[in-house]
Symmetry: C2
Subunit: 213 residues, 2 copies
């Protein structure tokens, strides 16, 4: 799991709960452990199943979860390096620019997406975009909502999508909507402006859409 | 109702069914009547309750529905002119660029929206963005879907939003989610790339999202 924010931590714990062997990757282990907000060292001390390692020491993992800040995802995966080759990258990141305050704006228009940028930059990896349309708590516990809601899937590799579909199922997702190739990540990434405003209107990030058809 | 495409026609018929007095506005009446695809003259002949008039002859209407092509909306409302003053503009249009093929891309990024552009261009009008997240058939018949789904509302004028809320209710909408000011149209307009890809994945435009919370 690349990324030590709330998304990375939530996914890492959920995968460990499902008996996966999980390491959390970060750019600079010492800097991450020393970070006080949120206090990573204290949190990690309570998670004996999880190890924190530098990105370049994640080589050998079967599957990578990109839970980094969207603006830093290319650099993070670049630091992992050749270890990505042939591996699945479950990409949760959103290309949001928080530099101009809240609400953030997108770093891409709908003629590209972060998912495609990652796939282009690391052609030997199998990028599957999913989970980027819900808050961390809902990603691993869709039953928090009062009925089955929809999670979207985008990726070029059918086998990789089947593996990710299995992980989603183990989190409790039932309505998994395969949109097609990684270019369809344009759809779910561009949904973020609506997600943000819905969150503001509802006063909670704990919601999701169910696609009724 | 400004616009003679499938959205304009569907809304016009639905409003007439609800006993509203409806005129359809177009740029050039003769050209519109002569259009063969779709055959407007034949269709209109079967709609005795609806009159087709030039945009500038819609003055006096209480409420305007912008069902024009998003790329032509500013020009269409400009042709209506001073008649917009103090009036509600129920804006359904999406700023889509079909010039580069399918799927279309957006004419705005998420730092602006067509709804805001219209409100800025016609400050004496009260622009309310809604219905732009569903296909025409669903706009006026949300019961086509197997459960209550969500329709979004954006606008700066609370009274105008209350009127539009009433119209939505008369179409059968129950879950009407007020996102806030007209700037929140950025959310619903930027949802179009996901709408398009969901439509492609499902093989039908007859769907909508229900916001579960």
């Amino acid at each position: 799991v690349l990324g030590t924010g709330i998304v990375g931590r939530t996914i890492a714990v959920a995968l460990a709960d499902l008996q996966h062997e999980v390491v959390i990757g970060t750019r600079d282990v010492a800097a991450t452990l020393g970070r006080s907000s949120p206090p990573m060292g204290d949190w990690l001390a309570e998670q004996p199943r999880l190890r924190l390692v530098a990105y370049e020491h994640t080589a050998g993992c079967d599957l990578f979860v990109n839970a980094t800040n969207g603006a830093g995802s290319l650099a993070a995966l670049g630091a992992v390096g050749p270890g990505l080759s042939g591996r699945i990258v479950l990409d949760i990141a959103n290309p949001l620019d928080f530099g101009r305050g809240f609400p953030p704006t997108l770093l891409v228009k709908d003629d590209d997406s972060l998912g495609e940028q990652l796939q282009r930059a690391f052609p030997a990896a199998k990028v599957v975009k999913t989970l980027n349309t819900v808050t961390a708590a809902v990603m691993v516990a869709p039953h928090l909502l009062p009925g089955p809601s929809t999670i979207f899937l985008s990726g070029d590799d059918a086998d990789a999508k089947a593996v990710v579909r299995g992980i989603l199922g183990s989190f409790g997702w039932i309505d998994i909507l395969d949109l097609g190739g990684i270019d369809t990540a344009r759809g779910t990434e561009m949904y973020l402006p609506l997600w943000i405003r819905t969150m503001q209107a509802l006063g909670t990030p704990v919601f999701n859409v169910a696609v009724l058809r």
